[in-house]
Amino acid sequence: MRLSLNSRLSAISALLPALLVMLVVYIGATSWTVWMSLTNSRMLPNNNFVGLRQYEMLLGNDRWITSVHNIVIYGLLFVSLALLVGFLLAVAIDQRVRAEDTIRSIFLYPYSMSFVVTGLVWQWLLNPTLGIQHVLRSWGFEGATFDWIVRPETAIYCLVIAGVWQASGLVMAIMLAGLRGVDDEIWKAARVDGLPKWRVYVSIIIPMMGASFATAAVLLSTGVVRLYDLSVAMTNGGPGIASEVPAKFVMDHLFERANIGLATAAATTMLITVIAVVAPYLYWRARKGEVR
């Protein structure tokens, strides 16, 4: 089909803004970042090519190593716990409880809060002299101790708690939609077969909900990669550097520590990691699409 010049022009002009954004912001900025990571830029960008020197320094940097370590712990715990808690909440709501709409809104509510607010709230709750520990002690449980947030080896788990609290409502909504899609007659058949309820969930329902779990896991994973504000608001990376995360490493070195070369090297490393995870998945999906 041949389009007239006129309609082709209008189509191009409609697509142009998006195309420009795509070219300049995504491809342009990303390429520039990769290039910067190969220079010795400090406070201002320059073009002195130094090869992979910045990457060598990055891998020798304790703070970066801690950040990577933290994001792995956070990523694994956050995704698995949020999926678990979200699924259990959805199962609980699916038992035809009273006031389902209200409860659903309450569970979903934390997701509407920004990470900064979430971080602040949980910073107070976990603060030993203000929050949960203080309350328990004032009730008479003198020995009660809950000081994870001020101890370097446990601070990252506090980020997990806050993250799970915020995200499990969203997981619940996705899972609930999945559970509601299960044919009522499957439940009836399982009852006639004499299967206990937990067994139906474990052996029949969960295997049916692969798509819901995949959707939720992808959404949660993107939250892991860009984890920044929660760390800033809750612990500011502390105590010391105990709860540093890669995105915060990049931001700090870019704007505070005037080390553009190292920051962009860190950012590029994150990009490569994400591509290394996503590319095989996309390839697999594309292959699956061809087969069908």
């Binding site: 499957i186 058949a189 009852r191 006639v192 077969d193 067994r199 049916m208």
Partner: protein
């Protein structure tokens, strides 16, 4: 395999303020094939679910195999059930679909294997045992669902519209298969459907339901030939029974008067003494006969439409008073639209209903 009877005594079921069934009594004998037939919303599925124990009852008792199971869990009732949507466990193989319930119940493994093998062989599923439900056709899926019911070795098998999701040809095939299965197992089966052909072909007895009440409970032949009221008469049979409004008249013999036409009722088995009251005459299309114009009982009608149906032809006619009716004739009938025919309504094939109550006279 044991064969249980089912005894339902003054069963009451309701949801909120809505009464679905009220004081329903039903007895199903061991090895009997009973079909619950009715339009949607008549309570037939509710009744079946109550027998299965999938919904709570408000009152009354349900006995299966002589045991009161009114408040028993479905698995303890000695029943097995087949659903309209097959309700197979989608991520399990056919073998596991059939064996899973038994595995959870702790049946010995060799016993499970024996039962699954037996059911699979009976339903020609042996070559499909390692497939997933998504890799099967609709008919195969429903056979798997039947297989899953069979391995339970239950006393009663319940079918909830099992063929409604299948296309016409598969439906006919599986219908035969279910009938064969019943003949072979001799098991008690209760089968819910809205399809009167299924009911007529499968049942030992049919319970025709409407508005939560069993209208008629009888053999297929009796239901077809002697419907107790106009609802049963119109619901069973395809093409549907013709209804002609008119008047009973007692003279030298009892007759039915519709406008200028007069149908002799000599030979009709009245249930009670007839009176001179308005009535409705019902006759099935295949019972109307062509006759000669000099036959004193002939009624003349004009042909409006001819529907060839392969084995025979359905001819739509109109009486002089513009009442329409249809009748069946051989496929090679030389009848054209606009022709005038002389037909006869044989008294022994008629059904007469009271005009207001709709009850058989």
């Amino acid at each position: 395999m044991q064969k249980s009877n089912v005894d339902i005594r003054s069963l009451q079921i309701g949801f909120g303020g809505l009464k679905v069934l009220e004081n329903l009594d039903l007895h199903v004998g061991a090895s009997e094939f009973l079909v619950l037939l009715g339009p949607s919303g008549c309570g037939k599925s509710t009744l079946l679910n109550a027998i299965a124990g999938l919904i709570d009852v408000r009152g009354g008792e349900i006995h299966v195999g002589g045991r009161d199971v009114t408040w028993a869990e479905p698995k303890d009732r000695g029943i097995a059930m087949v659903f309209q949507s097959y309700a197979l466990y989608p991520r399990m193989s056919v073998r596991r679909n059939m064996s899973f319930g038994l595995t959870v119940a702790g049946t010995p493994r060799d016993e499970i294997e024996r039962r699954v093998g037996e059911a699979a062989q009976m339903l020609r599923l042996t070559s499909l045992l390692d497939r997933r439900p998504s890799e099967l056709s609709g008919g195969q899926r429903q056979r798997v669902a039947i297989g899953r019911a069979l391995v339970r070795h239950a006393g009663v098998y319940l079918f909830d519209e099992p063929l409604s999701n299948l296309d016409a040809q598969l439906r006919a095939e599986l219908r035969v298969e279910i009938k064969r299965l019943h003949a072979r197992l001799g098991a008690t089966m209760i089968y819910v459907t809205h399809d009167q052909i299924e009911a007529l072909t499968l049942a030992d007895r049919i319970a025709v339901m409407q508005g939560g009440v069993i209208q008629q409970l009888d053999t297929p032949k009796k239901i077809y030939r002697e419907p107790v009221n106009r609802f049963v008469a119109s619901f069973v049979g395809s093409p549907a029974m013709n209804f002609i409004p008119g008047q009973l008249a007692r003279g030298s013999e009892v007759a039915f008067i519709a406008g200028v036409n007069r149908v002799s009722l000599n030979g009709y088995a009245f249930r009670s003494q007839p009176t001179d009251a308005p009535a409705v005459l019902g006759i099935r299309p295949e019972h109307i006969e062509l006759t000669a114009s000099n036959d004193p009982s002939a009624v003349s009608a004009r042909v409006e439409m001819v529907e060839p149906m392969g084995a025979d032809t359905l001819i739509w006619c109109r009486l002089a008073d513009s009442t329409a009716f249809s009748f069946r004739h051989d496929a090679d009938a030389q009848v054209r639209v606009g022709d005038t025919l002389n037909v006869r309504f044989p008294a022994e094939a008629l059904s007469l209903f009271d005009e207001t109550s709709g009850q058989r006279l």
